[in-house]
């Protein structure tokens, strides 16, 4: 017999209004405005944009408020919103060499054209909580230094002159960049598709995998060739105009990881590379992405696949936190019927087990009945 069970509508509606109340919190505390979040929680906004895979600061800020600061919930909201919009097209590839640089450091070259620009970094801070910030004091304007605008070539271009580093990753002439928002994942996948998945992947997951490669699981001797953060111009080819239409600028973080490589049957000894490119100021994520990108090139470079970070299907299938949270969190939704069936099954197995292992107890029980 099949019995449909309904119920919970009122409970659900009331739970949602309770959520709205708790989200707002104490009414005597002023409500957050989106511009406050965009300006003052900017790196949280950047994370939601990067993993939500949607560059729009105000929407990311709205998602953060709506999700009560739960980042993965906010990312989920942004992903859901994306699906409601039509697609105008694919931009022309951005040129990171032509960036309005806000930070640029290299761990491999001290004196490189354009120099080491620390920018707004947490590096070299003492990680001491600042009580003055809690008191809400005024903050001084940053210092300025007059300089000539200087070209800032990517470090990879400098290393390339010696021929000891592999070139930027190429694809066959007629290769059309894959798009995981259009086609289902298929393994093995080309590097361009992997990079798309990594760029929207969960920061914590990629960080842990990147860390594992440094600790010896798929060791590949990385150096940060360069990290650069700044704004690049975006352009789109459209049929109604004879030139690519300029869309404005976006802030991205790029990481060029350079890895010592002793050579294999497939490639000579040289420096190999991992690449990270992420929306916003997201340095840790870009570095983790570059470490994972390099580890996932094991097969291409003729290395043995021995660690989790090198296993493409494992990494890419589990890097999306919206999918991950969907599957994990669905476990808390009603499974009453499934569980009843399992309960019945376990009871029968247990009875058989008891009868086999403990025949006397079983006989007594039967006698008592």
């Amino acid at each position: 017999m099949y019995v449909a069970v309904k119920g919970g509508e009122a409970a659900i509606a009331n739970a949602h209004s309770l959520l709205a109340d708790r989200r707002r919190g104490d009414r005597s505390v002023p409500a957050l405005r989106l511009d406050q979040i965009v300006e003052q929680l900017a790196l949280g906004v950047d994370r939601v944009m990067s993993e939500g895979s949607l560059y729009d600061r105000e929407l990311a800020a709205l998602a953060i408020v709506q999700a009560r600061g739960d980042m993965i919930e906010a990312i989920f909201l942004v992903r859901a919103y994306r699906t409601t919009l039509p697609r105008f097209g694919y931009s022309k590839a951005i040129d990171t060499a032509n960036m309005l640089v806000e930070r640029r450091v290299s761990a491999t070259y001290k004196d490189l054209p354009g120099g080491q620009l620390l920018g707004p970094t947490f590096d070299y801070t003492h990680r001491l909580l600042d009580p003055e910030l809690a008191a809400g004091g005024d903050v001084a304007e940053p210092l300025q230094r007059e300089t000539e605008a200087q070209a800032m070539p990517r470090v990879s271009a400098i290393l390339a002159r010696e021929g000891l580093i592999e070139p930027d990753g190429d694809m066959p002439q007629d290769h059309v960049p894959g798009d995981i928002t259009r086609e289902p994942l298929e393994f093995p996948m080309a590097r361009d598709i992997r990079l798309q998945a990594l760029s929207r992947g969960d920061e914590g997951f990629l960080l842990a995998l990147g860390y594992s490669t440094q600790r010896g699981y798929a060791r590949n001797h990385p150096f940060v060739g360069e990290i650069r953060i700044g704004e690049v111009e975006l352009e789109l080819d459209v049929p109604e105009l004879p030139f690519a239409v300029p869309l404005g600028t976006v802030r991205v973080t790029e990481c060029q990881m350079v890895n010592q490589f002793k050579g294999s049957a497939k490639a000579p000894p040289q420096f190999t590379r991992g690449y990270g490119l992420v929306f916003g100021q997201s340095e840790r994520k870009a570095m983790a992405m570059a470490l994972c990108d390099r580890a996932l090139r094991a097969t291409e470079l003729g290395e043995d696949v021995v660690a989790a970070a090198q296993d493409e299907e494992f990494v890419i299938s589990h890097s999306d936190n919206v999918q991950a949270t969907g599957f994990v969190e669905h476990l808390k939704l009603p499974h009453y019927v499934d569980f009843q069936a399992e309960l019945d099954l376990v009871r029968r197995m247990r009875a058989e087990y008891d009868a086999r292992e403990n025949p006397k107890v079983e006989e007594k029980r039967e006698a008592a009945e």
Binding site: L85, Y90, S91, L100, E102, R145, D168, D179, D192
Partner: protein, 153 residues
Amino acid sequence: MRGQEARDQAERKAAMATLAQSSGDDIVRLWNEAGLPSDAELLRGPETGLVTLRGRIGGGGAPFNVGEATVTRATVRLPSGQVGHCYALGRDKQKARLAAIADALWQDPARRNEVETNLIAPLRSALTTAHERRRAETAATKVDFFTMVRGED
């Protein structure tokens, strides 16, 4: 003639870039100050959609898709017949409509100068100032390495 055409296209593109990078508030303020006409027939939009942002592997290699960005576009026709377009990051529909009208006015030889002088030039100057300030603030964080001289001579 072809040279002139190419120059016109480059200037038009530069004007569109300035409009796309400027805030809707700034465009509205200058528009009103300049008394530019805002009557135009909307042929498309303003509508918001997605553009997939592409990067290159290693910075200069094969292209790959990074993620989407919101973009709002509009197409308008002036009473005098010029058709103007706008595509700009974000979801500001008012900005897209005005920028499309500005693009249409720009194509009218009788209005181009007015648009360039009263709208594009001040927007461009504000953007340049902001860029220069950002560059100078970043430059102040440049590391100047120096060598420690140790021991006695």
